[in-house]
């Protein structure tokens, strides 16, 4: 029969697990919302002068400012740094996580990187009114994936959680039971 401390520790693990999982869901939700938002803006900019003028203005300002070619190496450096952190965090978590645990973070991150490179290299994208906003959104996705990767380290069973080992029974249950 578990003592009081073990029980409290189990509750804490569950709370942390749920909080981090909620954060991951929010991140995924925000990332997915960006797709229709960007598509909608580009569509509307073909019909509404006000929207097109505003997007075009923002595009010129961003491409002449933080996305000026002279800052290319800064952006690339930041992306590589984030990539390194995500990879390290992913490996740590994969090594420490419980059997059967799946962590898609690095894959999603790699996908976002590929999209970012594609938008940067394929001229068709640069003609879109949302060009600058697409880059901003994808960079935001990279940051979100970084947060996801780092927060994953605090999941029970990860090396930063302070309590290696399996999840409490009810958390295991919560993870393996499909949603209705």
């Amino acid at each position: 029969m578990p003592d009081v401390n073990t029980f409290a520790l189990g509750r804490l693990k569950i709370k942390r697990y749920k909080a981090i999982k909620t954060l991951h869901c929010l991140i995924t939700g925000v990332e997915l919302l960006m797709i229709p938002a960007l598509a909608g803006l580009e569509f509307l900019s073909g019909y509404r002068a006000g929207i097109m003028h505003h997007l075009y203005y923002q595009k010129v300002i961003y491409l002449g400012g933080i996305y000026n070619p002279r800052y290319f190496w800064v952006h690339l450096g930041l992306v590589l740094a984030c990539s390194a952190i995500v990879l390290v965090a992913g490996r740590r978590r994969a090594a420490r996580s419980v059997a059967g645990s799946q962590y898609p973070g690095p894959v999603v991150y790699a996908l976002v990187c590929v999209m970012l490179a594609g938008i940067y290299l394929i001229p068709w994208f640069s003609r879109l009114n949302i060009y600058a906003h697409m880059i901003i959104c994808l960079e935001c996705c990279l940051v979100l994936e970084l947060i996801r990767a780092l927060s994953g380290l605090f999941l029970p069973g990860s090396f930063l959680s302070g309590h290696s080992g399996d999840l409490p029974e009810d958390a295991q249950h919560a993870r393996t039971t499909p949603s209705p």
Binding site: G46, Y47, A49, V60
Partner: protein, 460 residues
């Protein structure tokens, strides 16, 4: 004998009903004759109201009237306005009635030329409690020698839908040379899908305004009028020549007036605008077309470009003009909030304020795309006496050269056209406007309410 008498009365009643027509027999509003209308012109408790299309008020001979124009002193309240599908129309019309002095306590003479417009307005006013209404047929006035009509000198610059339809159908049309081909153009910002593809005036081809005012590719972002070389290429690509007659239409009339003004600057001699845009066309009961038409390019414009450089004032010309205020007025056709520097009016332009010396000249109430002070509810040109009164209230002297400006020349182009319609000769558009001025380093800027305005009342 009594039976015979009853029969006679019955027959006479039927004959009279047939002669007067069902509408007149059913109308509770009495008719009035020409002499009474003439007498009413001098009475302060009478108001004479033109209920026809705005173009008829301006001077077009519509509905087979023998002479064009409106009765001197008449105000306009078109039956067409009642048919506009607009949120808040009822309240807007009530404000218009009050502003024009069409009040329930006055005797109101409603005239038309088709027997329908005046009755429609009478029904509207009756429902609002107007009881002293009279109907008049302007044919009688036009056919009476010595009865004058007010016709704007260049009324032909803004064309009613019925005349455009006649032109398209190859019918004789007032002020148009028979046999001379007419190009119909639909102007809009953006690709054809923005308005043209949804339906346009039959035979019209589309012009994207970005073709003549391409956006800059660096900060500051602006949609300024292209240089003359680009405009020359634009004219040839769209098949314009100096001797063309062009009618410009658009869903939003601002675009039509902008393109029309630029075509006049380029040098096309006869450029007109459909009064009220696409809405005027559909309210007239004509169908729109969705089939696409392409312009036929030409290789020779037939004259130098720009052919009429006086249409557009440059920044240097405005600066020179502002130094000679007794001969020059810079009329600022933006909203009051733009004029006093509360807002820039544009999401892509952050600089606020006005050009020192510019006089507030009205445009819209709230938006940088509004033209409420110059338009009727059906988007047609407002009664000139009313916008001239607004100008007079701001001290704008029409004897000086008037240079109209706004953000980048769209609103100003519409005002320019109306000024031209009423016969003002010394007029131009300062196309670069506030955006061009404020983006030019070193140009002075003014903010706040000018002292001079305290003497004048800003009208809503």
């Amino acid at each position: 004998m009594p039976r015979f008498f009853v029969r006679v009365v019955a027959v006479l009643t039927v004959v009279l009903m047939t002669a007067w027509g069902p509408a007149r027999a059913a109308s509770p509003v009495p008719d009035i004759d020409t002499g009474a209308v003439a007498a009413a012109m001098d009475k302060p408790d009478w108001v004479i109201v033109d209920t026809r299309l705005n173009s008829a008020f301006n001077g077009w001979k519509l509905d087979r009237v023998s002479r064009g124009g409106h009765i001197p002193g008449a105000v306009d309240f078109s039956a067409n306005w009642l048919r506009v599908d607009e949120k808040g129309l009822e309240k807007n019309l009530e404000k218009i009635l009050a502003a024009k002095g069409i009040l329930p306590e006055k005797h109101v003479v409603l005239y038309d030329a088709n027997g329908r417009d005046a009755r429609a307005v009478a029904a509207f006013l009756s429902a609002k409690g107007y009881s002293r209404l009279y109907l008049y047929d302007i044919h009688a006035w036009a056919n009476t020698p010595g009865r004058s009509l007010v016709q704007y000198p260049n009324y032909h610059r803004v064309v009613p839908a019925a005349v455009v339809k006649a032109v398209i159908d190859g019918q004789p049309a007032e002020t148009f040379d028979p046999g001379r081909p007419v190009k119909i153009v639909e102007a809009s910002w953006g690709a054809e899908k923005t308005s043209y593809a949804k339906g346009h005036i039959p035979g019209a081809f589309h012009i994207n305004t970005d073709r003549m005012e391409p956006p800059t590719t660096q900060d500051p972002v602006m949609w300024m009028l292209a240089d003359d070389k680009t405009l020359a290429a634009f004219a040839l690509a769209f098949g314009f020549t100096r001797d063309d007659t062009v009618i410009v239409t658009s869903e939003e009339p601002l675009a039509a007036y902008r393109v029309a003004t630029v075509l006049r600057y380029i040098g096309v001699n006869d450029v007109r605008v459909l009064n009220g845009g696409t809405l005027a066309w559909t309210l007239a009961g004509f169908d729109l077309e969705t089939r696409r038409h392409d312009p036929v390019p030409v290789t020779d414009f037939g004259g130098p470009i720009p052919g009429n450089p006086d249409v557009i004032d440059t920044i240097d010309e405005v600066k020179a003009g502002l130094k000679a205020k007794e001969r020059f007025t810079l009329v600022d056709n933006r909203t009051w909030r733009e004029y006093i520097g509360e807002v820039s009016g544009y999401s892509y332009h952050k600089k606020k304020g006005r050009i020192p010396g510019a006089v507030y000249g009205y445009a819209g109430r709230d938006s940088a795309y509004g033209m409420e002070h110059y338009r009727n509810p059906d988007k047609t040109m407002r009664n000139a006496r009313e916008f001239l009164a607004l100008w007079a209230g701001q001290g704008i002297d029409t004897a000086t050269r008037l240079s109209f400006m706004c953000g980048s020349g769209w609103r100003a182009a519409e005002v320019y056209y109306y000024a031209d319609v009423i016969g003002l000769k010394e007029i131009a558009v300062f196309s670069d406007g506030w955006i061009g001025w404020s983006n030019t380093p070193g140009n002075p800027v003014e903010m706040g309410t000018p002292d001079r305005v305290n003497a004048y009342k800003i009208q809503d």
